[in-house]
């Protein structure tokens, strides 16, 4: 409630005494709030005219304040039947009572002020609403920017796997997020999560949680331990009444094994040849309380299996009859084989059919679909075919010490029809042996579950052998000429001959790191043809 007071002469610059007039102090009546429900409001509206304070007998806090301030008369400002404000006037400077003319003048003044004040209040209210809308819009833009910045820019491209993702924020921008973390050695981390709340607070918590997950994922190999560590860190950081649901899985891309833990997020579905299964693992959402432990489960994906991770924006979407999309319908959709296996589009399309056209999206929608296409794709995955090239052999060997000898034998068998010079065969054997040994030891770190892939191809001009391991995130040193004198003097380790030998044995060596894999390509020109 707006209140008005008489402006003092001092404020008006009129406090200099006029000739013949005695100087007199003017009391200032401070603005007085009339709280909603105060009986004074009802009385002023009902009387609708200047009222003497002395004639009022009310249990009113505002009236008591007005009395203490020395007001004698209250002039209500009424617009459209509502009290917009009031003028409080103290005693007249002449010490005389307010006359009937004074009261008519005040009534007339109030009648003119009230509509103007009504308009002013309306304008102010609209300005406040516009500013609030602008503030909310800016906040949503900030939240959307944070989310857009932190969501993956591209999908992982792993040989033998197809990864797809769909994210559409609600107008109010919720706290959904997903992430892919390359853990090296053929392991791919996958995260999907949802922060309670919306807007900037949710986006900031999402950013914090994402950073914590990424840091923990590089230090721990157990999804359950990663979630437990993030929970401990997040409890101290997260605002009250907020929490994060999150599923974290590590996929061994060679073996197809998925190790996962779940902090209260929607269960993932897997469509296999036996139907659709839920991947269940129990755990409390992140950020609620300390000391949480998370169940960890393992599931092995076979060729053709599809794993679907979702957010609750899908299952909790409503149709015009206010029925939820629900888990059953989602599960049924996952079970359905679709053209080109575009599971993402299939689910989104079905969801849109459910909610109806032009329906405002209630929450963020996030989908991550991971398909194990073929376990045999690794070897041939990154091999750009050359014109006239013939595949002589494609095989893998487990990363066990000594298996470089197996690889050498397979390569020798493969190139036998080429009838190469014996010296060239021997050089290629040494180069292949060194490259496969490096892949086993440095690329795959002797992890017997990881395989080294070997691809042998030939053109009339050259034999190309590509050796691929999972050391895609490692720094590969340049080949250097070893300092034999220093080694013989004991100043350097006797080792360090591998890359040097590879370079000396073949005509060209190319290396390539992509999608978590590292490939060495050995090129041996066929003499007389190149």
């Amino acid at each position: 409630m707006v209140s008005w007071r008489r402006r003092t002469k001092a404020e008006a610059g009129e406090d200099k005494p006029q000739p013949g007039q005695a100087k007199r102090d003017v009391e200032i009546i401070e603005p007085i709030e009339i709280q909603p429900g105060d009986p004074l409001e009802t009385v002023l509206v009902s009387m609708g005219r200047p009222v003497d304070v002395s004639e009022l007998d009310l249990d009113s806090e505002a009236l008591s304040t007005i009395r203490r301030a020395g007001a004698e008369i209250i002039v209500p400002l009424i617009g459209q039947g509502e009290l917009l404000g009031a003028l409080y006037l103290g005693r007249r400077l002449s010490d005389q009572s307010y006359s009937a003319d004074d009261r008519r003048l005040l009534t007339s003044l109030a009648a003119q002020v009230a509509p103007a004040m009504n308009v002013a209040l309306l304008v102010r209210s609209q300005q406040a609403e516009a500013e609030e809308r602008e503030r909310i819009q800016q906040e949503l833009q900030v939240a959307a920017l944070i989310q857009h910045t932190l969501l993956p820019k591209e999908l992982p491209s792993v040989p033998g796997w197809h990864v797809d993702a769909f994210y559409r924020p609600a107008r109010a921008v919720g706290g959904d997020f997903y992430d892919f973390i390359d853990l090296g050695l053929g392991r791919q981390g996958v995260v999907i999560g949802d922060v309670t709340d919306k807007g900037v607070p949710a986006a900031l918590v999402m950013a914090t949680c994402r950073s914590m997950l990424r840091a923990a994922a590089q230090q721990k190999t157990s999804p359950a331990e990663v979630l437990a560590e993030v929970n401990e860190a997040l409890v101290d950081e997260i605002p009250p009444a907020m929490f994060v649901t999150c599923l974290y899985a590590i996929i061994d891309t060679a073996a197809g094994e998925v190790v996962f833990a779940n902090a209260g997020h929607n269960l993932p579905y897997v469509r296999s040849s036996d139907g659709v299964v839920e991947l269940r693992a129990t755990g409390m959402p992140l950020g609620l309380m300390n000391g949480m432990e998370y169940e960890e489960k393992v599931y092995r994906l076979q060729d053709g299996d599809v794993m679907v991770l979702t957010s609750d924006g899908i299952t909790e979407a409503h149709n015009p009859e206010r029925e939820m999309y629900g888990f059953g319908r989602l599960m049924g959709r996952v079970a359905r084989k679709v053209r080109d296996e575009d599971v993402c589009s299939s689910i989104v399309s079905d969801l849109e059919d459910w909610t109806g056209e032009n329906a405002e999206q209630e929450d963020d929608i996030t989908l991550v679909v991971i398909t194990r296409t073929s376990s045999a794709e690794l070897a041939a995955s990154t091999f750009d075919p050359n014109p006239g090239e013939e595949t002589l052999a494609t095989f893998t060997v487990p990363s066990v010490e000594g298996n470089e000898l197996l690889a050498i034998d397979r390569v020798v068998d493969a190139i036998e029809p080429l009838d190469l010079d014996l010296s060239d065969v021997e050089r290629l054997k040494t180069a292949v042996g060194e490259a496969v040994m490096n892949a086993i030891e440095h690329g795959n770190e002797f992890n017997a579950d990881l395989e080294v892939s070997v691809d042998v191809r030939a053109t009339p001009a050259a034999v190309r052998v590509r050796i691929t391991d999972y050391g895609g995130n490692k720094v590969i040193p340049e080949a250097e000429t070893p300092d034999l004198e220093a080694k013989l003097a004991g100043d350097q380790t006797p080792r360090g001959w591998g890359l040097f030998l590879i370079e000396k044995m073949v005509d060209e060596v190319f290396t390539e790191q992509q999608n978590g894999t590292h490939t060495v390509e050995l090129v041996l020109n066929q003499r007389g043809e190149s």
Binding site: L405, S423, L484, F500, L501
Partner: protein, 112 residues
């Protein structure tokens, strides 16, 4: 066939000094038996020679083992020679410059 991942080293006597007969694959697993054979051969006077006739594969870690052996010999002023290398491994010894620090004999007859 390169699959036999085994190694043996045996010391015998030649006309000019001890001979270490190497058999199988020379890689890092050869370090211990080869060093043991070296210690045994070191007690015999004369030029020490490595017989590679029964070696089917040498990799970079095997080269490192031979470098280690050569370093040990040079520290005590002991001469080391080698024979029985295939053309390929003779080329490897030249590329690695091992042949600059040990005499490479064409055959067993000239070595012994």
């Amino acid at each position: 066939m390169t699959s036999a991942n085994t190694f043996e080293a045996r010391v015998s006597s030649g006309d000019r000094g001890p001979v270490i007969e190497l058999t199988g694959t020379v890689n890092k697993a050869a370090k211990e038996p080869l060093e043991a054979a070296y210690e045994e051969a070191a007690s015999v006077q004369g030029e020490m020679r490595l017989d590679f006739r029964a070696v089917d594969y040498i990799n970079s870690t095997g080269i490192a083992v031979i470098v280690g052996l050569l370093a040990k010999a040079r520290a005590t002023g002991r001469e080391i020679g080698a024979f029985g290398l295939t053309d390929h491994y003779r080329e490897v010894f030249e590329i690695t410059r091992l042949s600059d620090f040990m005499t490479i004999y064409d055959d067993a007859k000239s070595a012994k």
